[in-house]
């Protein structure tokens, strides 16, 4: 009996502790830049560009961190708990974390899911599941312009004191993106039509392909649990050999083995395909490098693609 009492009291303590708990979010300071948390480096770049000095930005997933594999640290808890605005991609890119982020919106935190502001008709539905959409919207520059516009308007609404700055920076970025869009179109247009095929390990470039008239073929799906079959490798290798594609691409966050297996298979079919280079898909490049910004990343990717496929 004494043991039971002891056990019960042991468990009661933590429960009591929580019952006395107060509100979760800490009070925001009255003035100064607003505290914004962004999830991926790509979204973070958008916030930094549009928000400028008016936002105090923290990015949860650093350079090279695949959103599928992100592991929060203890400091990230503080970051989240003190955030005034949370900006994320949405469309379930952030996995189960999406649910948490959505929920924070209900408790006085401003929550902006940039991809979810886009017109659903402009989004690519996932085959077989009409309600779900491919979240990798950022490589369609037009869509990213819309995302930038939405973020600009949201920041203006949330922090009207600095509205002019948001508008100016947002519009400038949208203009820069328009220019980038033209550049990409031109670069891709320089490729012969038959060569406009992008083969990578996983499906992060569907929007990019749709926007610039490139056929996109991937070996793996989005799910990290999915696995390729032998027939999938065979079919894709046959496709590459048949189309006489000169290059396929690896991604920084996916082991190159899959693509290596493809090149071997193509070689065995008498084709000749090289690995055209590494593309940035879910995260930007290292700070200080050419791909440290969104614009830099798009340019690097397009240069890599065009350089390899034009040969």
């Amino acid at each position: 009996m004494t043991m039971k009492t002891r056990v019960v009291s042991l468990f009661a303590i933590p429960l009591l502790l929580v019952a006395c708990g107060g509100p979760l979010q800490d009070a925001a300071p009255a003035d100064g830049p607003i505290r914004v948390v962004a999830t991926t480096t790509i979204v973070g770049d958008l916030v930094r560009t549009v928000g400028g000095d008016s936002v105090d930005l923290t990015i949860l997933m650093g350079a090279g961190v695949d959103p599928h594999l992100y592991k929060p640290s203890a400091g990230d808890v503080r970051t989240m708990a003190t955030a005034q605005v949370v900006v994320y991609n949405g469309l379930h890119l952030e996995g189960k974390m999406t649910e948490v982020l959505e929920e924070m919106g209900g408790r006085g935190v401003e929550v902006v899911a940039v991809a979810e502001y886009l017109d659903p008709k402009a989004l690519l539905p996932i085959e077989g599941f009409d309600e779900l959409h491919d979240p990798h919207v950022w490589f369609d520059i037009e869509l990213w312009q819309q995302a930038a516009a939405c973020l600009r308007d949201e920041l203006v609404r949330i922090d009207p004191d600095h509205a002019d700055g948001y508008r100016a920076r947002g519009d400038a970025f949208i203009a820069e993106l328009a220019e980038l869009d033209g550049w990409v179109e031109e670069r891709i247009g320089s490729l012969p039509e038959a060569r406009r095929v992008l083969v990578t390990a996983h499906d992060a470039f569907e929007y990019f392909g749709r926007a610039y008239g490139i056929e996109v073929r991937g070996l793996l799906g989005v799910s990290t649990a999915a696995e390729a079959g032998t027939a999938d490798v065979q079919q894709l290798a046959a496709f590459i050999a048949e189309r006489k594609l000169p290059a396929v691409f690896v991604e920084s966050s996916v082991p190159p083995r899959y693509v290596e297996a493809l090149t071997e298979a193509v070689a065995a079919r008498g084709g000749e395909v090289t690995i055209g280079g590494s593309l940035y898909s879910d995260a930007l490049g290292s700070p200080g490098g050419p791909a440290e910004t969104y614009v830099g990343t798009v340019r690097t990717n397009v240069d890599t693609i065009v350089g390899a496929l034009a040969e």
């Binding site: 043991m3 468990f11 933590p14 203890a74 808890v77 379930h92 649910e99 929920e103 799906g221 649990a225």
Partner: protein, 371 residues
Amino acid sequence: MTAELEILVIAMVTAVAAALPGAYLVLRRTAMVSDAISHAILPGIVVAFFLTEDLNSPLLLIAAAATGVLTVVLIEALIRSRLIPEDASIGIVFPALFSIGVILISRAASDVHLDTDSVLLGELAFAPFHRLTVVGVDLGPAALWSMGTILVLNVGLILLAWKELKLATVDSSLAALLGFQPVVVHYGLMTMVSVTAVGAFDAVGSILVVALMIAPPATAYLLAERLAPMVVVAAVVAAAGAALGWAFALALDVSIAGSIAAASGLLFVAAFLVAPRRGLLAQARRRQGQRLDFAVRMLVVHLFHHEGTPEASEECRVAGLHRHLGWSESWTRRVVGKAAELELVERNGEQVLPTADGRRLADDAVIGFGA
């Protein structure tokens, strides 16, 4: 309360909730079931997703728990067939179930961000941000409610079925003869393990659950001699490991879940080294402290033993003692010195002989062991 403190409380509650059934897993030598469940629930999640087409549906969690139960039922059935040992039964069931899940995803939903990690929340750091709200009132983190409920259920079940669980864990055949249904108790226990595991996967992540289910009970196994203290110590160690790991993570700004798993391991290592009776240090100290004491007694008994026998002149000679006792010369000198100091032996020319005290000690020692 701050988010960090809430995490601490959630971690402690989860740790205790997991350690309780974990104690029985460790004793039944099926500890790896916890890891097997973390892989094997995938097909349940996938099927539930196909039915709901919603990644956030609670049905996915229920399906995961049901698949967890199916997993342990299959493992238990294989073990009970006695055709395959425990470890291999586990090693056959979970890859099969997991593979079914992967095939389902690959064939029908490879473009959906669908895997165990993205469906079960599985991240302690985010637990405070997922709250239970009823009619606009914030009742605290949802994970605390779910794990608190599981904890209360586990405590209740263990107290209710204490005898049965003990019998079924320690001796299932005797339980059957005494009229208990060890099958029912086993499956009940395994269902408890499965529900706890899936609930905890959702609250804190899979690897932490495996650590919490195994490490604290294993630590307790080194500290406690009987089942009841072992279960209680496991719960205390689990909570302590959660607190320690939490503090590390905060201090070093690293993964809280990983840190708690590592801290649980650290507590085990500590117990492994310094547990009062079973620790390596206690073993070594016992050996060291005992060695001289033991050697003195041994010397005295040896001398006593050979006193007055024909070979005594040889066996009790100072110069030859070390050979007879298999000791080094320096050690023998030390032991003889110590024994002389305690007035248990005395020198008599070339020989060492026991004193009256020595004879009494030798006599006591020998008879004491025999009794």
